[in-house]
C-alpha cells in the first residue's frame, strides 16, 4: 500500500512524533498546582493576602464533615478519625474541639504579667488580691477538679488562665459532647492541617486518600458520609475531575468523529489520515508551551486539546474538495490560500490570549497557536504526499446539494442578528460573572459545600480583613493596639462579631514595658498580700512563689517575636503577621461582618495608621473585571489585525468586512442565546468565542469563494457541512461536562459553530469573493 515516496514523509512524521513525545515526557514537567490559573493582584497588600491564602496555613487546611448515621455515631467517628489521623505523619494537627490536658507553656507562663491585659495595678492592691483569693477558694472547694490547682501558689491571681481565655479564637463552632458540630447537629466537623502546601497536589492527594481510608475503617456501619473541602481538596478534585472528564469526553468525541468520518468518506485510511494533523497539533502545542514556558500545566493540556479538536477541519477541507482523479496536492493548492487565511485569523484570536498577564490563559493561547499552525502545516506538507495518486472519494452528491437561497433568508438572518443585539443591550443586569469563583474549574456543589462548612465552623469571614503595614514591627504592633478600642466598639455596635489581633499575642515593646513598670515592689506586694490573707485559710507561706515570680518579671526583657515562634502561639501569629520584602504586614481577620461601612469608617478615622479595610471578594471582582477589560481591548486590536489581513488577502476592504459580517452575526447570536439560556459569561466564554470567530471566518471564506463550477460549490458545501457537524458534535459532548470551564467552552463553541455555518451559508454566498 505504501510506496517509497510515501514512506519517507511518513517516517519523518513518525520521527517528529516520537522525538517530541520523548522530549516532552523527559524534559517538560507537567504542573498541576492551581495557582497558575488564578489571577495575581498588582497591589502589594492584596498580593500578601493572596499568597497567604494560596501558600500559607490557610492553604493547608482540610475541612472534614461527617454526615449521616446517628448523633452518637457521628461523635464517635469524629473522635476516632482525629485519633487515627494524629498518628500519621501527614498531618501537623487535627482539631475537632477536643481539649487536650492543659499544657502550660513555661515561656508564656514566665511572661504572663507582661502579656496579660489583666495585669493592671489594681490587681495587686490588697482588695484586688483578696478578691482573687476568694475566687481561688471557691474553685478549690467546688465539686469538680480545678485544672489550675497546681499553679495556685505561683499564680493566685489566675493571670495565666485569663491569658488562655484571651487567646481563644473570637468564635468557635458549636459542639456536642466536646466535638465540633454544625448548629443543626447534623454534621460533625474537623479541621486537619496537612504538612504540605495546598497547591502541592500529589501530597494533598495522599493526605486526602488517607483521610478516606481511615474514615472507611471507622465507618463500619456504612451509614456515615465523609465530606471534605479546602484548598488542597479543591486542587485534588480539580485535577481528578479535569483528568477523568477530559479523558472520558475526548474518548467519546474521538469515537464520534471517527464514526462521522467513516460514514462520510467510507474509508478507514482517510479516517486515519484525518487524525494525523490532530496528533501533530497536540504534540506541537505541548512542545511550544514547553519551549516557551519550560513547563506545561495539566489544565492547559486538557483545555487545549479540546480547542485543537478544530484541526480536524483541515483534512476534511482537503478530502471534500478533491475532484475526481485530481492529484491531492493539486486539490490542496486550490483551497490552500483560503485555508491559510482561515488558520492565520484563528491564530490572531489566540495571540490575544497569549499576550495576557494571566499565565494560565497565555499558556493556553500559545498551546493553541502552536497546535493550529502545526496541524495546518501537516495538512499542507504531509497529507497530500501520503494520500498518493488516483484518489477517488465517494461523496454522495445528494449530501453535497447546495441549497440556493435568495436574499430573503439573508435579510431574515440579519434581522435575527439585530434582535439578538438589541436583546443583549436591553439586559437589566450585567451578563458577566465577575466573581473570582468564575475562574474556578470546580463543580458548583463543591464550592457550595465549602462555603457551608466554613459558616458551620464559624471561620472568620472569608475575604473581610483589615490590613496594616509598616517597615517596623514595633510600629505596626503599636498601630494594632491603637486600633483595638475602635474594633471593640464595632463589636459593641454589632458591626462585626469579633476580630483577631496579633498584638493580643505579642504586645508591643512599649505596652510590655508599661506593664512591667506598673508592677508593685517586693515590699509593697508582700504587705498587700498579707492584708489580703487575713481572712483566708490559705497556709501562711503558700504564696512565696508568687512574690518571687512578680519580682523576676520586673527584671524580664520584653518578649520578642522570635521567642514566640517556639511556642504554641506560632500558628496564630503566622496567620496574622507576615514579613514580605522590607515591610511587615499585620492582618486582622474579621468575624460576622454586618456593617462594612462602619469598618471602612474606622480605618479612615485611624488617620496616622496604615490600616486599610480589604474586601477580597470585591477586590477579586475588580481584578476579574480589570482583566476582562484588558482582554477586550486586546480583542479590539485582534479584530483590527484580522480585518487588515483579510483586506490584504481579498484585496478589498469591503470584501473583508463582508466575510466578517456573518461571523459577527454568529457571535452576536451565540452570546444572545447563551444569555437566553441563563449563562453568566466568563473569561472562558470569551476564549471559546475567539475559536468561534476563527472557525466562522474559515466557513465564511469558503462559502464566499466564487466557484468555477456547480460541482465545486457542492464540494465546498460538503466540506463545511462535515466540519460543522463534527465540530458541533465534539463541543456538544464537551458542553455536557460538569466542569464549568469545559461546559462554557463546549456550549459556546457548539452554538457558535452552528450559527457560523448557517450565517455564512446564507450571507457569504450572496456577496461572494475569493482569496487570491
Amino acid at each position: 500500500m505504501v510506496d517509497r515516496r510515501q514512506l519517507i514523509p511518513l517516517l519523518i512524521w513518525v520521527f517528529f512524533v516520537v522525538l517530541t513525545f520523548a522530549w516532552l515526557t523527559a524534559k517538560v514537567p507537567i504542573r498541576s498546582d492551581l495557582s497558575l490559573f488564578l489571577p495575581v493582584s498588582s497591589d502589594p497588600a492584596e498580593k500578601v493576602i493572596q499568597q497567604k491564602l494560596r501558600e500559607g496555613v490557610a492553604s493547608r487546611l482540610i475541612l472534614i464533615g461527617i454526615d449521616g448515621g446517628s448523633l452518637k455515631q457521628r461523635v464517635e467517628a469524629s473522635r476516632h478519625l482525629r485519633q487515627a489521623l494524629l498518628k500519621l505523619e501527614y498531618f501537623e494537627r487535627v482539631e475537632n474541639g477536643t481539649v487536650e490536658s492543659l499544657q502550660i507553656d513555661p515561656l508564656l507562663f514566665e511572661y504572663r504579667y507582661l502579656l496579660s491585659k489583666k495585669s493592671e495595678a489594681t490587681l495587686f492592691t490588697p482588695q484586688g488580691l483578696a478578691q482573687a483569693l476568694d475566687r481561688r477558694m471557691q474553685e478549690l472547694t467546688a465539686p469538680y477538679p480545678s485544672p489550675f490547682k497546681q499553679q495556685l501558689p505561683q499564680d493566685p491571681t489566675a493571670i495565666y488562665p485569663a491569658l488562655l481565655k484571651q487567646w481563644l479564637p473570637p468564635s468557635r463552632p458549636s459542639s456536642v459532647q466536646g466535638v465540633w458540630f454544625s448548629a443543626d447537629q447534623q454534621r460533625a466537623l474537623l479541621i486537619a492541617e496537612t504538612e504540605t502546601k495546598g497547591m502541592e497536589i500529589d501530597s494533598q492527594q495522599q493526605a486526602h486518600n488517607i483521610i478516606q481510608q481511615e474514615f472507611h475503617k471507622i465507618d463500619s456501619s456504612g451509614q456515615l458520609r465523609l465530606q471534605t473541602s479546602g484548598p488542597g481538596v479543591f486542587a485534588v478534585h480539580s485535577r481528578e475531575v479535569i483528568r477523568s472528564e477530559s479523558k472520558l469526553l475526548s474518548l467519546i468525541s474521538s469515537a464520534a468523529i471517527i464514526l462521522i468520518l467513516l460514514l462520510v468518506y467510507r474509508s478507514l485510511r482517510i479516517t486515519i489520515l484525518a487524525a494525523m494533523p490532530l496528533i501533530t497539533a497536540m504534540l506541537a502545542g505541548s512542545g511550544t508551551v514547553g519551549l516557551l514556558f519550560g513547563e506545561l500545566h495539566g489544565i492547559t493540556l486538557a483545555f487545549g486539546i479540546t480547542l485543537l479538536g478544530v484541526t480536524i477541519d483541515y483534512p476534511i477541507h482537503l478530502f471534500s474538495h478533491l475532484k475526481k482523479n485530481e492529484l491531492p496536492l493539486q486539490g490542496l493548492m486550490r483551497i490552500w490560500p483560503t485555508l491559510r487565511v482561515g488558520v492565520i485569523t484563528t491564530c490572531i484570536g489566540y495571540l490575544v490570549m497569549a499576550t495576557t498577564d494571566f499565565r494560565g490563559l497565555s499558556q493556553l493561547g500559545v498551546f493553541t497557536i502552536g497546535g493550529l499552525l502545526a496541524g495546518a502545516l501537516c495538512t499542507r506538507l504531509l497529507l497530500p504526499r501520503l494520500m498518493g495518486e488516483g484518489w477517488q472519494l465517494t461523496i454522495d452528491t445528494g449530501v453535497g446539494q447546495i441549497p440556493r437561497l435568495g436574499r430573503l433568508p439573508a435579510s431574515v438572518m440579519l434581522g435575527v442578528g439585530l434582535c439578538s443585539l438589541l436583546f443583549l443591550f436591553m439586559q437589566p443586569t450585567s451578563i458577566w460573572h465577575d466573581d473570582m469563583s468564575s475562574m474556578s474549574a470546580l463543580p458548583k456543589q463543591l464550592l457550595k459545600l465549602d462555603r457551608e462548612m466554613r459558616v458551620q465552623l464559624n471561620a472568620p469571614e472569608a475575604g473581610h480583613l483589615i490590613i496594616l503595614h509598616d517597615p517596623d514591627l514595633e510600629n505596626i504592633l503599636q498601630q494594632a493596639e491603637e486600633l483595638e478600642d475602635g474594633l471593640k466598639d464595632l463589636v459593641k455596635s454589632q458591626a462585626i462579631a469579633g476580630f483577631n489581633l496579633a498584638s493580643n499575642y505579642l504586645p508591643s515593646l512599649k505596652r510590655q514595658l508599661e506593664r512591667r513598670a506598673a508592677l508593685p515592689s517586693n515590699a509593697q506586694l508582700k504587705s498587700n498580700l498579707e492584708q489580703a490573707l487575713t481572712n483566708h485559710r490559705f497556709r501562711s507561706n503558700l504564696f512565696g512563689p508568687f512574690l518571687q515570680d512578680v519580682a523576676d518579671t520586673r527584671n524580664l526583657q520584653p518578649l520578642k517575636l522570635k521567642q514566640l515562634t517556639e511556642t504554641s502561639l506560632e500558628q496564630q501569629l503566622a496567620n496574622l503577621l507576615s514579613h514580605e520584602g522590607d515591610e511587615w504586614f499585620l492582618m486582622v481577620p474579621l468575624y460576622g461582618v454586618n456593617n462594612s461601612a462602619a469598618i471602612e469608617q474606622l480605618t479612615i478615622q485611624a488617620n496616622d495608621s496604615s490600616a486599610r479595610y480589604l474586601q477580597l471578594g470585591e477586590e477579586g471582582k475588580r481584578m476579574v473585571i480589570g482583566f476582562r477589560e484588558g482582554v477586550f481591548s486586546r480583542i479590539g486590536w485582534g479584530v483590527l489585525a484580522m480585518v487588515l489581513l483579510l483586506s490584504i488577502s481579498l484585496q478589498s476592504g469591503r470584501s473583508a468586512l463582508l466575510v466578517l459580517l456573518p461571523v459577527m452575526l454568529a457571535v452576536t447570536l451565540t452570546v444572545g442565546l447563551l444569555v437566553l439560556l441563563g449563562e453568566m459569561l466568563t473569561i472562558f466564554h470569551l476564549v471559546a468565542l475567539m475559536l468561534v470567530v476563527g472557525i466562522g471566518i474559515d466557513y465564511s471564506l469558503f462559502f464566499s469563494r466564487q466557484e468555477l463550477s456547480e460541482e465545486d460549490g457542492r464540494r465546498t458545501f460538503h466540506a463545511l457541512a462535515v466540519c460543522a457537524i463534527s465540530t458541533a458534535t465534539v463541543f456538544t459532548i464537551l458542553a455536557s461536562s460538569e466542569i464549568p470551564v469545559l461546559r462554557a467552552i463546549g456550549l459556546t463553541t457548539a452554538i457558535g459553530v452552528v450559527g457560523s455555518f448557517i450565517a455564512s451559508m446564507l450571507l457569504a454566498r450572496q456577496f461572494g469573493t475569493t482569496v487570491e
Binding site: 481539649v99 477538679p145 485544672p147
Partner: protein, 193 residues
C-alpha cells in the same frame, strides 16, 4: 511534690484480695442491679475537703439530687450557699449575688470524666465506669466497698483513686484521693435520717 501513700495502698490491695475470696457470690452484676435508680435520688450530704494548700479542712453541707439519665444538682447550703446544676453537657454555677456561669463540661477534659463518673456511680452504671477505671469490689452485700483506679493516664495524674462505701443499695461514702495528698470525703445521709 507527691506524697507517697503507696505502702498503705499496697497493704490495702492485699487486704482486698484476701477478702475477695469470701465474697464470691457478691458480684458487680448484683451491685449494679441494686444501685440502679430509675426514679433518681435526693440525698443530704456532708463533704470534707482536706487540702494541702489550706490550714484547716473545709466542711460543707447540702443536697445532692440526681435525675436519670444525666441531671445532677449539688446544692451547697453551708457554710456558703451555692448551686451547681449539670444537665447533659452544660454546668450552671450560681453563687448568690453573681451572674450565673454556664460552662460546657468539655472545656476541660477531666471535668467531663469527673462528672460522668459521678453520674455513673449514682446511676449504678458500672459498665461505663469500667471504661475509665479498673474496678475492685470487696466486702459483703451489707458492707461493700468499690475501689476505682483510673485507667486513663491523664486522669491518673490528677486522681489516685475513688473509694465508694455502701450497704445494700445505699451509697454511704465517696472518697476521692487526689495525687498530691488532697482528699475529698463525701458522706451521703439517708433522706429519712
Amino acid at each position: 511534690m507527691r506524697s507517697l501513700p503507696y505502702s498503705p495502698f499496697a497493704l490495702f490491695l492485699l487486704l482486698t484480695v484476701a477478702v475477695q475470696a469470701s465474697a464470691e457470690e457478691w458480684n458487680r452484676m448484683e451491685l449494679m442491679m441494686l444501685l440502679a435508680t430509675p426514679q433518681g435520688s435526693e440525698q443530704h450530704y456532708t463533704e470534707t475537703k482536706e487540702l494541702a494548700f489550706l490550714e484547716t479542712s473545709v466542711v460543707s453541707q447540702g443536697r445532692l439530687v440526681f435525675t436519670p439519665p444525666d441531671q445532677l444538682l449539688k446544692q451547697v447550703e453551708k457554710p456558703d450557699v451555692s448551686r451547681y446544676e449539670i444537665t447533659g453537657d452544660t454546668m450552671t454555677i450560681s453563687h448568690p449575688g453573681e451572674a450565673n456561669q454556664v460552662v460546657n463540661i468539655d472545656t476541660h477534659p477531666l471535668l467531663r470524666t469527673f462528672i460522668d463518673t459521678l453520674r455513673a456511680i449514682l446511676a449504678g452504671d458500672l459498665k461505663s465506669l469500667e471504661h475509665h477505671y479498673s474496678l475492685k469490689l470487696t466486702g459483703t452485700r451489707s458492707a461493700w466497698q468499690l475501689h476505682l483506679s483510673p485507667l486513663d493516664s491523664q486522669l491518673a495524674t490528677l486522681v489516685e483513686s475513688l473509694i465508694i462505701n455502701g450497704q445494700g443499695k445505699q451509697i454511704n461514702q465517696m472518697i476521692t484521693q487526689e495525687q498530691g495528698g488532697d482528699r475529698t470525703t463525701l458522706t451521703l445521709h439517708d433522706n429519712g435520717g
